[in-house]
């Protein structure tokens, strides 16, 4: 295996485009190293992105959003006051990935590119309306996060392409987001169900909403029907019931070692209700 440390995304893309065998990009490494260890992946070329300038930085964008470098570990997201104030749901999704130790390495970009339907940080990004900047041999392009995963373990990135930043839109006023996941233990598990809600209020009424679910379909899923169930409501009992129903209806999960179809479908509704209430409280200024 050859180990590369390019200093620009263009060089990284070139290396990947020219590589003949199996290539992996290395940011936090918390998925790649596990796959290498298990013998699932034996890369011929490993391209470490951490020597590229700016990859460990979180910067405010001109439009009032955020640009998050591909090697920013979870621990740095949680320590960033501005980001936590704007997108607590995105941050808490990332912070649920693994242990304190994993948080020292794991990144949003890696979690997204691993392509798992259960990736904890992805529903929050999708609900937030985040996009990614992709650098490839032909330059850069921006793509909504929900378009990146295409099936378990597969992404829409083409050969030689890599994500060069994650972009969060401006949060704006009277808005909040939240992510909840269900795991059998309290920590250290892969989500059995994940649900993220981002919404904006006018008074007590929801004016905008995005709902995304994880681990209930082959990819993390944006669920417009769930958002519609609460837009125009005050999240009263009836709206919450409709929200839960819409979330459950959007599920097409599998039975596996982590959960059953019936359980995932049911709990998707439960979590979405709970996440919506947290998002609402945050929109009203609750910082918890």
């Amino acid at each position: 295996m050859r180990y590369h440390t390019p200093t620009t995304f263009e060089d990284a893309a070139q290396l990947a485009a020219q590589a003949k065998g199996l290539t992996r990009f290395l940011a936090g490494g918390t998925d790649v190293l596990v796959q290498m260890r298990a013998g699932m992946v034996q890369p011929d070329d490993l391209i470490d992105l951490k020597k590229i300038a700016g990859v460990a930085e979180i910067t405010a964008t001109d439009d009032g959003g955020w640009r998050i470098g591909v090697a920013v570990p979870g621990i740095a997201l949680g320590a960033h006051e501005g980001l936590c104030a704007d997108w607590p749901g995105v941050v808490e999704g990332m912070e649920l990935v693994g242990s304190t130790q994993i948080q020292g390495r794991a990144t949003l970009t890696g979690n997204l590119c691993n392509g798992s339907p259960a990736a904890d940080s992805v529903p929050g990004l999708v609900a937030a309306g985040a996009s990614v900047e992709i650098t490839g041999p032909d330059g850069t392009r921006n793509v909504p996060v929900e378009e990146i995963p295409v099936s378990p373990g597969k992404t829409a990135l083409k050969a030689g392409e890599l994500i060069s930043a994650i972009l969060l839109p401006p949060r704006g006023q009277n808005a909040g987001d939240a992510y909840l996941r269900f795991i059998p233990r309290t920590e250290m598990d892969i989500a059995v169900v994940g649900s993220a809600v981002s919404l904006r209020l006018d008074g007590d009424t929801v004016t905008e909403a995005r709902v995304a679910l994880g681990a209930v379909a082959p990819t993390v899923k944006l669920v417009p029907e769930a958002a519609e169930a609460i837009i125009g409501t005050t999240l009263d009992e009836a709206a919450l019931e409709a929200l839960a129903k819409a979330a459950s209806a959007a599920c097409s999960p599998i039975d596996d070692k982590r959960g059953t179809v019936a359980f995932r479908t049911e709990v998707a509704g439960v979590l979405t209700k709970r996440a919506a209430l947290i998002a609402k409280a945050r929109a009203k200024g609750d910082t918890a």
């Binding site: 298990a38 059998p184 233990r185 309290t186 920590e187 250290m188 982590r258 959960g259 359980f263 439960v270």
Partner: protein, 747 residues
């Protein structure tokens, strides 16, 4: 238990720092994988991806051709003609004609680096003919199940039993049908438990060296170096005494490191590689696929009870699979399941069944947790039905000294009643519960064990003492043995060094298993110390010119007694030791025996849970362990055993399980999905050490390691019923199962 029955002890019952503490907090302690040797090779093992397959052909030529590869072995490199358990061990070490479970070793490589060995393993080509497999015990016992091995059944199995039944037992007394007829309530249910793994954090690791002359050495993490020696030499056809086995520090075992899994491979590779030492370290996935686990069980229990809680009759029929080899602990499960209760009419039936799973190993009170899950769950339901307090019911039926155990023998001194009374008096029982919360109670039992024991003690020139024991220190036994030795010799705790020694240094010792280290090695050390004391008294008597019978040992010194009392000043151990070279030579003491006087240990646990009615997730709010220790030599490590046992039981109850796919492959062979409890899953675990001293041990020790894993399984099931109204009869009680049970009862 009356306090005044206790002798006053200076050291026993105190909590000094453990002797190996410094090494273990600084990273200096050397575990199985921490040692290397000049010229050492690294090994890697190729394992079957199939649950059951005929091995048609193995081609190792590409692996052998790789630079740096020094040896490749398959079953063809092992001696033939083994029988019985020796054959089982050999077959489990390396598959012969068939791979019998996912993870079964089929070939192994030794090379100049770990990475090179792994590369070589990937170059080995194996052609398999996949055969039908069976995983679940209830499927495996069917008459038409895939046959794991013809002729594996022993003489206990009657003609006409299904082919995978390899051992059968029935025993009991009285007339259970008459007992049921006497009852006001008879209930019968079926319970299932899934296999769990011991889950020690240290993967198996060893470094083996074997020359063409048949002489070998091994460094290995094990609970029992003599077992490793006996089993490795049997599997490889060596003379037992020619292999010298040194135990490393051990990173947990819980029964799982009392046997061999891959250790002979390092020796066989070493021999083939010209005697170079070979290091072999399992990955976590290897550990979960190919070592341990415990058995899975399917159990029918029927009990009759009077309105006042008296048990009138009890019947248990247990089916257990312990993998592709005989040896599930179905016998132990049956012995333990009714052990807390005084029963006139009781019947036990057991089936040991083969399935395409790894060969089970002992796991903390082997069998007892499964049996307790079934019996203690049913008793709880019956108490609810009859409106009887579950602790009062247990007290009413509790066995006492002199009672005949459900499985036959007569109990000596036991502390079940004291344990139940201490439970009843505990403040946790009066804490009010909120909505969706429930409290569960269950009892548990373990025999405890003696086993072959050999200990040697020597007095050093400065009057300190060294004790050589053969039982690896897995949770503080150096401290407890040092305390008892120092107490006996009348010297400071710090003046005793307890060494866990290699097989060349002592006679045969059984492993640290059966909760025996502090009981058996401790008892032997006390006897050995007594021998040294006798000799020291003799040396003093010689010097004083008096009869040795007229010398007594007090506070670490010989002093004249009887008529001679006060005639000479006491002669301290340091004074005697300082001149031992000129008074007759080294002073030591030995003891070899299978010590009698084992004392059984009963426990009772109380757990409070809260269940989320919308997700089925169970949170442990508080947990209480009450258990009879006999006497706690080092109470902090006794508490540690209680807490650790409870935590493992909680894991087994809620989330741990072997999960197999349709293809018979283990799906959760990493800690991510084999869900042992993490720190945030558990509350503090309250403990009460009941002390009903065991008269069979000089300091009253019973053995405390195992009972604690038994009650959590039923206690949590009982608490979940109280919290939700739903009764779970199948483990693990994971959120999907609990939620489904809540929904099924219309919650």
């Amino acid at each position: 238990m009356a306090k005044d029955e206790f002798k006053e002890f200076k050291l026993v019952g105190t909590r000094p720092d453990r002797p190996d503490g410094l090494d273990k907090v600084t990273g200096r302690a050397r575990y199985g994988a921490d040692i290397s040797a000049p010229g050492m090779l690294w090994a890697a093992v190729l394992r079957s991806p199939h649950a059951h397959a005929r091995i048609v052909r193995i081609d190792t030529s590409k692996a052998e051709a790789l630079t740096g590869v020094k040896a490749v072995i398959t079953r063809a490199d092992f001696p033939t003609g083994l029988t019985g358990e020796d054959w089982n061990l050999q077959e489990n070490t390396m598959a012969g004609e068939r791979a019998l479970y996912d993870g079964h070793a089929v070939a192994a490589v030794a090379a100049t680096s770990k990475l090179r060995a792994e590369e070589a393993v990937r170059l080995i080509e194996v052609e398999y003919e996949v055969l039908p497999h069976v995983i679940d015990v209830d499927d495996a016992i069917k008459p038409d199940a895939p046959v794991i091995r013809e002729g594996a059944a022993d003489a206990t199995v009657p003609e006409g039993m299904p082919p995978n039944v390899v051992r059968y037992m029935e025993f009991g007394r009285g007339d259970v049908e008459a007992g049921f007829a006497e009852a006001d309530l008879v209930m019968e249910k079926t319970y299932k438990t899934e296999a769990t793994h011991q889950g020690y954090i240290e993967p198996h690791a060893c470094m083996g060296q074997l020359g063409a002359d048949g002489k070998g050495e091994m460094w290995v993490c094990t609970q029992g170096q003599w077992f490793i020696r006996k089993m490795c030499t049997a599997v490889l056809g060596l003379e037992t005494s020619q292999l010298r086995v040194t135990p490393s520090e051990i990173g947990g075992g819980f029964g799982g490191k009392t046997t061999i899994f891959m250790e002979p491979l390092s020796l066989a590779l070493s021999k083939k590689a010209g005697g170079k030492p070979v290091k072999l370290v399992m990955s976590r996935s290897d550990v979960l696929r190919a070592t341990g686990p415990t058995a899975s069980a399917s159990m029918d229990v029927k009990i009759g009870m009077k309105k006042d809680g008296t048990i009138t009759g009890a019947r248990a029929e247990f089916r257990m699979q312990g993998g592709a080899f005989p040896g599930s602990p179905v016998d132990m499960a049956l012995y333990c399941c009714f052990a807390p209760y005084k029963l006139k009419n009781v019947e036990h039936v057991g089936y040991d069944v083969l399935a395409n799973r790894p060969k089970c190993a002992a796991y903390r009170a082997p069998g007892s947790p499964m049996g307790a899950f079934a019996v203690e769950s049913l008793l709880d339901e019956m108490c609810r039905e009859l409106g009887v307090d579950p602790l009062d019911m247990r007290l009413k039926n509790a066995v006492r000294e002199g009672d005949t155990a459900s499985y036959g023998p007569k109990y000596g001194s036991i502390g079940l009643v004291e344990t139940l009374e201490a439970t009843k008096a505990h403040p946790n029982l009066s804490i009010p519960l909120g909505p969706n919360q429930g409290r569960g109670i269950a009892a548990g039992y373990w025999f405890n064990h003696n086993g072959e024991t050999s200990v040697s003690l020597a007095i050093s020139e400065d009057g300190t003492a060294q004790v050589s024991v053969g039982t690896p220190d897995i949770g503080g036994s150096r401290a407890s043995i040092a305390l008892m030795t120092a107490e006996t010799l009348g010297i400071p705790y710090e003046d005793v060094r307890v060494n866990v020694v290699e097989t060349g240094a002592l006679g045969v010792n059984e492993p640290t298993h059966g909760s025996r280290a502090t009981f058996a090695s401790g008892k032997a050390a006390v006897v050995a110390a007594g021998h040294a004391i006798t000799e020291m008294c003799r040396r003093a008597a010689n010097e004083w010119g008096i009869d040795p019978e007229a010398v007594e040992w007090v506070d670490g010194a010989a002093q004249p007694a009887g008529d001679n009392a006060g005639k000479f000043p006491p002669m301290t151990i340091a004074e005697i030791a300082g001149k031992m070279g000129s008074t007759g030579g080294p002073i030591s003491g030995h003891h070899e025996s299978v010590p009698d006087g084992v004392g059984a240990s009963f426990g009772c646990h109380v757990v409070d849970v809260e269940v989320d009615p919308e997700t089925g997730r169970t949170t442990i709010l508080r947990y209480l362990v009450v258990q009879d220790a006999g006497r706690a030599i080092h109470p902090a490590y006794v508490e540690g055993q209680y807490q650790g046992g409870a935590a493992q039981g909680i894991g087994w109850a809620l989330n741990e399980a072997y999960i197999y796919g349709e293809d018979g492959r283990l799906q959760n062979s990493v800690f991510l999905d084999y869900r042992v409890p993490v720190a945030s899953d558990l509350p503090m675990i309250d403990t009460v050490i009941v002390e009903v001293p065991n008269p069979g041990h000089p300091y009253g020790v019973r053995g405390v390691g195992e009972t604690g894993i038994t009650p959590p399984l039923p206690a949590i099931a009982n608490a979940i019923q109280e919290a939700t109204g739903a009764r779970l009869c199948e483990l693990p009680m994971s959120p999907p199962k609990v939620l489904a049970a809540i929904k099924a009862k219309g919650g």
